[in-house]
């Protein structure tokens, strides 16, 4: 139990190789079962009725005609759900978002749900539910929502974090502030100050698999939920809290998950499916349509950000400030606060101040999206840094190196850094052939840095040694990107056996202790630490069993390369016992062999990346093509390098889409205009070049193998890297994301007409 997570340098045999993933064949043959690929006997089809208004009071809901439709088995509205109005605010918000209680707060907000014997009956019933709305004025724009006369989303909301608390309500839920030093005196020391305002539009994670679940509630209070989620234990807790179920009686199984990126860390339809099942007395399958995913799951914030940075002629930044306004959707959260914490995290600053404002608007509740809130802040800061370097006549990489944070730097969000990787990624960028490659006509090059925290968290893992010496590894962190392969490598490494002899599975909530979600880049970090611990515990058991077999003291048994060895001269004639031999004898040496671990895997270590990007801009149409892209990021130790590269490439691609085309477009009526993949334009295969990656391995001192989280940071730099490249190509600084062709062409035409 006394697990020591400290990093120890070692030569790896399995870790760092690129074997085939254990779920590979299921996934290339169509056998892998995702959220919508599971059925139960007697299952009903669930559908949700959604608000066509951005903001309205629900005057009346009449379900009588819908209930009369043949085949309809249950209809649920907020009145069928527990009333949490005077309870825990955050639980109230979660449930109110799943099913509106008194007001609809955005286009797509759920107002009622139906369970029927087939899709057709459900569709008919939805049409017959009568909802009377009193339409209220709405606001979707972040700056407009902050104006004194803006329509109020929550009349009981008074801005927190300011002294004294305001006397009038507003849409600003919270003000947060970070920094140190004195920025006024800092700016006074500057020779050059650059100050700009930026905007970014709302984007969606865009996972290809819509939310889907099958819920089955029994009359004795037991229930099962099959669901695509990033955290089935968290979903279990949330659903139990919302619906008043016993945690032990709700068994949640995570399906294979078709992408999440943060969007599947929150419940959306799952409590509704359970409520429908409870009312109907039959299992209910509820699958969101793509349109519902866009309108009513959790995109990221739209933002409006001001940045001011000053520097001396020698290239030293003397002061930096940012004011960040983030939409939260209709419920208060801390998205701007995250932006305020991360914005200047790459730099060593004497005087820095960031202020964040959480702004309520009539848009869907904001959810985490890969390094949530950091990309927008990085866009604003890294664009300003680039402009400052330009004005100073300095190379942008050199300028950043001169001001980069390092071990001992007091971070802009408060704490002092331990060993960190921003410097090495910048130095790698400086010597990368990409920065010296020639550019063609209308082409430009940009670079930018990014930061993300990374998290660890609660983790529980079981490792069972089977009688044939193979190993079953049960983990509780959902595998979103190949972590079963990585964790099998870890188990093989620690036990000294072959990768092929380990089979990793994701266990359901009834068969393993609690695990936090696969979020915060923690899946492989946390579960690998727990796997190492479980493996060490199993080795302890096996040493003991070998000692029994040999009849010698356990202290004299060591573990080397997958074998128990009797140490010392006196045992010279004892040949080592392999796992297979120990396992085969286990029935007579004490029964099954297993290693367990329950831990808090903390010490994930912050993460940095540097990206380099070449673009080509068509000056006649404003169209931008990504010509070349390079990602440099610290992985601590890449367990399965192919999947580490995959994370780098995937994050970069999402950032490229965000930078160039993706955005939520609202009409005057507050309704979402583009709730589909046709007009919410994520990058397609022909939009992108190969994405080069360079993995740095600066060991994390708080992990036995030096592993760091790698999932999120790669989405942070692209917005700024591309903006800087466009600026380099056409001489215009784009301050509004996405930098879609109409925006670039308008900027070019403005420049030409000046």
């Amino acid at each position: 139990m006394n697990f020591d997570p400290t990093y120890r340098s070692q030569k790896f045999r399995s870790v760092g190789t690129r074997p085939r993933r254990p779920d590979g064949i299921d996934k290339v043959t169509g056998r892998a079962r995702y959220g919508a690929d599971f059925n139960m006997p007697g299952q009903l089809v669930g559908r949700i009725l959604r608000s066509p208004h951005a903001h309205a009071r629900i005057v009346r809901i009449d379900t009588a005609r819908a209930e009369a439709v043949k085949g309809v088995k249950a209809i649920v509205t907020a009145s069928d759900l527990p009333d949490l109005t005077n309870g825990n605010q955050s639980l109230f918000n979660i449930l109110d978002n799943c099913m509106a209680r008194s007001k609809v707060l955005y286009d797509g907000h759920a107002v009622a749900a139906v369970a029927a014997i087939d899709a057709n009956a459900a569709k008919q019933a939805l049409k017959l539910i009568e909802v009377e709305y009193e339409v209220l004025p709405h606001v979707v724009d972040v700056d407009a929502a902050m104006l004194p006369d803006a329509p109020l989303i929550d009349k009981t909301l008074f801005t927190g974090g300011v002294e004294p608390t305001p006397e009038t309500p507003s849409n600003v839920a919270l003000r947060s502030e970070f920094g140190h030093g004195d920025i006024e005196s800092g700016f006074a020391q500057a020779d050059i100050v650059v100050e700009r305002s930026y905007r970014t539009e709302q984007t969606h994670q865009g996972y290809i698999e819509p939310h889907a679940c099958v819920a089955s509630c029994n009359s004795d209070g037991t229930a099962e939920l099959w669901v695509c989620t990033q955290g089935h234990f968290v979903f279990r807790q949330t659903c139990a809290d919302l619906l008043g179920l016993d945690v032990s009686k709700l068994r949640v199984t995570s399906s294979e998950i078709g992408g999440g990126f943060g969007g599947k860390t929150h419940v959306w339809v799952e409590p509704v499916a359970l409520a429908l099942s409870r009312k109907a007395g039959r299992p209910v399958k509820l699958v969101m349509s793509r349109e519902e995913v866009f309108r009513a799951s959790g995109p990221t914030s739209a933002t409006s950000i001001d940045v001011k940075i000053g520097a001396r002629k020698d290239g030293t930044i003397t002061a930096a400030a940012a004011n960040l306004r983030y939409t939260n959707g209709p419920y208060a959260d801390i998205w701007a606060e995250l932006g305020a914490m991360t914005s200047f995290a790459c730099y060593d600053l004497e005087n820095v101040k960031t202020v964040g404002f959480e702004v309520l608007v009539n848009r869907p509740k904001v959810a985490a999206y890969r390094a949530p809130s950091a990309p927008m802040a990085a866009f604003a800061v890294e664009s300003t840094i680039d402009e400052l370097a330009q004005e100073l006549g300095m190379d942008p990489v050199e300028f950043r190196i001169q001001n980069a944070a390092s071990e001992g730097t007091k971070s802009s969000y408060g704490p002092v850094y331990g060993p960190i990787g921003i410097g090495p990624t910048l130095e790698a960028a400086q010597s990368h052939p990409h920065v010296k490659a020639p550019l063609g006509p209308n082409q430009g090059r940009g670079m930018a840095c990014g930061f993300w925290f990374n998290f660890g968290g609660q983790t529980c893992t079981d490792l069972n040694v089977n009688v044939d010496g193979t190993v079953t590894l049960a983990v509780g962190t959902v595998d979103v990107g190949g972590s079963r392969a990585s964790l099998s490598l870890i188990a093989a490494e620690e036990l000294g056996i072959a990768y092929e002899d380990v089979k990793a599975v994701v266990a359901d909530t009834a068969t393993l202790g609690y695990n936090d979600m696969t979020d915060g880049s923690r899946g492989t970090f946390s579960s690998s630490m727990a796997t190492i611990s479980a493996a060490r515990n199993a080795i302890g058991v096996m040493r003991h069993r070998a000692a029994l077999q040999w009849d010698i003291p356990v202290e004299d048994v060591t573990w080397e390369d997958g074998n128990a060895k009797a140490s010392g001269e006196k045992y010279g004639n004892l040949s080592p016992l392999s796992i297979k031999e120990i396992a085969a004898a286990s029935g007579n040496t004490g029964g099954p062999i297993a290693g367990h671990s329950e831990m808090v895997a903390d010490g994930a270590g912050v993460s940095f990346a540097t990206h380099i990007c070449d673009v080509e801009v068509d000056p006649e149409t404003g169209s931008t093509r990504i010509v070349r892209y390079t990602v440099i990021q610290d992985a601590g130790k890449a367990v399965h390098p192919a999947y580490v590269e995959g994370q780098y490439q995937g994050g970069a691609a999402q950032g490229i889409g965000w930078a160039l085309n993706e955005e939520y477009i609202y009409g005057e009526d507050g309704r979402l205009q583009n709730p589909g993949f046709l007009d919410y334009r994520i990058p397609v295969c022909s939009d992108l070049p190969m994405i080069d990656t360079q993995i740095l391995e600066i060991p994390n001192p708080n992990h036995p193998y030096g592993v760091r989280g790698v999932g999120e940071t790669s989405i942070v730099p692209p917005l700024a890297a591309i903006a800087n490249a466009i600026s380099n190509a056409v001489g215009i600084r784009m301050t509004h994301i996405p930098m879609s062709p109409p925006r670039i062409l308008a900027a070019l035409n403005r420049e030409r007409n000046q």
């Binding site: 850094y417 968290g457 979020d519």
Partner: protein, 81 residues
């Protein structure tokens, strides 16, 4: 003795102190003492804080020992994607 720095949101709950000095050997002792001294901090301590010790963020592990002269920071517990 350890100096604990509080994030801005906690300061009003701690008599407007940005830094609080406590005598504690582990994170748990530290948090208990903070809660005893400033009852307003008890609620956020339950599920809103993470402890940063010498640059490393701890979200859950309150058994961690505080080294002499450690830099200790309370920040908000954050979530990722």
């Amino acid at each position: 003795m350890v100096d604990v720095k509080l994030w801005a949101g906690l300061v009003p709950l701690a008599d407007n102190q940005q830094t609080v000095t406590v005598e504690a050997g582990t994170v748990r002792e530290l948090l208990r003492q903070l809660g005893d001294r400033y009852p307003g901090l008890r609620e956020p301590i339950k599920n809103e804080v993470a402890v940063v010790m010498d640059g490393t963020i701890y979200r859950n592990d309150w058994s961690v020992e505080l080294p002499e002269n450690a830099e200790v920071f309370l920040i908000r517990r954050l979530a990722g994607g």
